[in-house]
């Protein structure tokens, strides 16, 4: 009986521990928590007043701690770099507010209201995962808060249900067929797909399967938790004549282990990982393929200065950082454009300005113009192959 009581106490404590979202506020809270919805033209600066620096904050929602922290820290650092560089170049005083979501919808929905109630926050970069967008979309829509994701690719996020949502990456409607057509084009006959039980992963799996089946490829599916620490039983389920394993996963180290265990059990199937696995440090199974929503910017000459600036300050990075830089830049420019027009930035104005984004060039190597649903026009996926431990752009 005593043991059961202790167990119950433990369950309660674990449940309570699961709910600690911490949003570190780096700006003074504006006192009232109501959302400013005044149109921008109500708030024009009067002449004769001392010139005020353009200010405000952007919130960054990323998995800064927890199992996906390696992604989140990279995203946060790129956002910091974007804010620092922008402030320096334009004399603005825009602050960054961190919100740790741990890639967990429950955490994200704790952080979102904190951001909403901080009247200084005019736009949000993030959250990172599709499952988190679903958790915060309605909260941000109600608050009129523009939010720009740097990595959420689930297709139906931009079907109009979240009117203030934007993303700088292409969708799984593009990625799924890209992967499936590639595998079919490489002569795949028997494919094993494992989702990792996240909204991102199941959505992508659904986009891949019909294309494979249309190409007469035999598809077997399975599913494993993102928290799993051993895949050997799952690997035993991959039949010896399977020639491709597709992993639409988010945690690169998991795929690394999967690949090692595949080799350990003598299976020869090639691995195709989705964009979530793009991580030259953590996923290095020789000969595997990985799709990416952004090019490797270290290979783009125009980005050399930026790469240098980041590496000298924060070290190496994968493909999650640069889209975050792009998303943060969009938010920063939106705020700045209102200041330049003589207005005082508020969420409604920033939302309008974000929607009207028109960048002829970006860190992602392509122009950024949003369509009506919040997707970047003409965004495409890239395919990389791991050769001698390096990610090499695969061109066929």
């Amino acid at each position: 009986m005593r043991l059961l009581a202790v167990l119950a106490a433990f369950a309660l404590i674990v449940a309570a521990c699961g709910g600690d979202g911490d949003a570190t506020t780096t700006t003074a809270a504006a006192g009232d928590t109501t959302t400013t919805t005044a149109p921008p033209d109500d708030a024009t600066t009067t002449t004769g007043e001392a010139p005020m620096a353009c200010s405000g904050s952007i919130g960054v929602m990323a998995p800064i701690t927890g199992p996906a922290a390696s992604i989140g820290v990279e995203q946060l650092n790129w956002a910091k770099l974007a804010v620092d560089q922008f402030n320096e170049a334009n004399g603005t005083e825009i602050a960054l507010v961190e919100g740790d979501t741990q890639l967990d919808p429950a955490q994200a929905s704790t952080v979102a209201p904190q951001f909403v109630s901080d009247a200084g926050i005019l736009a949000v970069v993030g959250p990172a995962g599709s499952q988190e967008i679903e958790a915060v979309g309605a909260i941000f829509a109600d608050a009129g808060m523009p939010f720009i994701s740097m990595s959420a690719t689930r297709t139906d996020l931009t079907d109009g249900q979240y009117p203030t949502f934007f993303r700088v990456v292409p969708t799984d409607a593009d990625q799924g067929p890209t992967i499936a057509n590639f595998v079919a084009g490489m002569g795949g006959t028997k494919v094993f797909i494992v989702d990792d039980q996240t909204s991102y992963s199941t959505g992508l799996t659904e986009a891949i399967i019909p294309v494979l089946e249309a190409a007469d490829i035999e598809v077997t599916t399975d599913s494993v938790s993102q928290d799993a620490t051993d895949f050997s039983s799952l690997v035993s389920n991959v039949s010896d004549d399977t020639d491709w394993v597709i992993l639409p996963w988010q945690i690169a180290a998991n795929a690394q282990l999967f690949g090692q265990q595949l080799a350990e059990q003598g299976k020869t199937a090639a691995i195709f990982g989705s964009d979530g696995l793009f991580s030259p440090n953590d996923f290095t199974i020789e000969g595997s393929y990985v799709s990416a929503f952004a090019p490797d910017i270290t290979g783009i000459p125009e980005s050399a200065d930026l790469v240098e600036a980041f590496q000298s300050q924060y070290g190496d990075f994968g493909t999650f950082g640069p889209p975050t830089f792009a998303a943060a830049t969009i938010a920063l420019e939106a705020i700045y454009s209102i200041c330049q027009a003589g207005g005082e930035p508020d969420r409604a104005g920033v939302l309008e300005a974000v929607a009207a984004t028109d960048q002829a060039t970006s860190v992602l190597g392509q122009p950024i113009v949003f369509n009506e649903s919040g997707d970047v026009e003409g965004a495409v996926f890239f395919i990389f192959q791991i050769q001698d431990g390096e990610y090499v752009l695969f061109t066929g």
Binding site: V6, C17, A69, G72, Q197, S225, D230, S236, Q256, G266
Partner: protein
């Protein structure tokens, strides 16, 4: 049949690691009636210590010592760091609270757990680290029987886990310290009155349990490749479940529970679906507790009047 044996090996590997961690939970609970929730983090720190030894000795592919010695040193390093950590946790987080209500050390344990997790995050950053075992022991070396493959690293893990468990059983049943541990677990105050240095026994219990967790951490690094600051939480939860299924406080129970949970995970992933892996594991916990509330090998608690 091959598939069955393959899953058996998978389950045995996982199970022997869970068993090693579960022993620490069970031994401490047996003596102090304390759920040491920081135990998962002790295991995590052991894994990082093993990684540290590996790095200091030149890394997986280019170590300055032969591979068998390298692995031995990693295991010893992991065990040593975990032992020191476990003893320190007992000294600073639990001993001052020994006379407080039982909930106090429990909260303290959870605090230590978060403290160590965050410390690891600060010290080692959030990145996954890999032992890069394939550079030490080729994943294809091992026993190959037809389509069945048992890699050498799995054999090492399973054999050494069982050897350690046998050693612990001998220690508890045959040595003076073991006798003192059993006496203290049976009745702490009584043992103290019989002249047993209870504090010493408790420190020894923490040291042994933590050393086993440290070894488990290094083994997980070797067989599953990657380690990270958060790894102690889930492993700790599973091992705790194993300890409860086996009968918390019982040493053979922890071993049995660990193997059982490992097997359950492997076979549910193999024959049913990995989707329901955790559901099945915790389902077993519930069923066992309903049928036998004290666990498979646990003794019903005596109420002292």
């Amino acid at each position: 049949m091959d598939f069955f044996v393959q899953q058996l090996v998978n389950g045995l590997t996982l199970g022997s690691v869970y068993a090693l961690i579960a022993l620490g939970y069970s031994m401490v609970y047996g003596i102090l009636k304390l759920l040491n929730f920081a135990h998962g983090e002790v295991y995590m720190m052991g894994a990082f210590a093993g990684y540290g030894v590996l790095t200091v000795l030149g890394g997986a592919g280019s170590a300055v010592v032969p591979v068998p010695l390298l692995i031995l040193l990693m295991v010893l390093g992991g065990a040593a760091v975990s032992t020191v950590l476990g003893v320190a946790i007992e000294r600073f987080a639990y001993r001052p609270l020994r006379r407080s209500p039982r909930i106090a050390p429990l909260i303290s344990a959870i605090g230590v757990s978060f403290f160590l997790q965050s410390a690891a995050l600060l010290l080692f950053s959030a990145r996954f680290r890999t032992y890069d075992t394939p550079s030490m022991i080729s994943p294809t070396t091992g026993v190959v029987i037809g389509p069945l493959r048992i890699s050498l690293v799995r054999i090492i893990v399973i054999v050494s886990a069982f050897a350690l468990m046998a050693g612990l059983t001998l220690l508890v049943s045959r040595t003076k310290l073991g006798k003192a541990m059993r006496a203290t677990a049976f009745d702490l105050e009584g043992a103290a009155m019989m002249g047993i240095d209870v504090d010493k026994v408790i420190v020894a219990t923490f040291a042994i349990g933590s050393a086993l967790a440290g070894v488990a951490g290094v083994m997980v690094g070797l067989v599953f490749g990657r380690i990270f600051h958060f790894m102690g939480f889930i492993a700790g939860l599973k091992a705790f479940t194993a300890a409860v299924v086996g009968g918390i406080g019982s040493i053979p129970g922890a071993m049995l529970g660990g193997i059982l949970i490992g097997m359950a995970e492997a076979f549910s992933a193999g024959y049913i679906s990995s989707t329901f892996q955790n559901v099945i594991v915790f389902g077993i916990l519930i069923v066992v507790l309903l049928v036998k509330p004290s666990g498979l090998l646990g003794r019903p608690e005596l109420v002292k009047v």
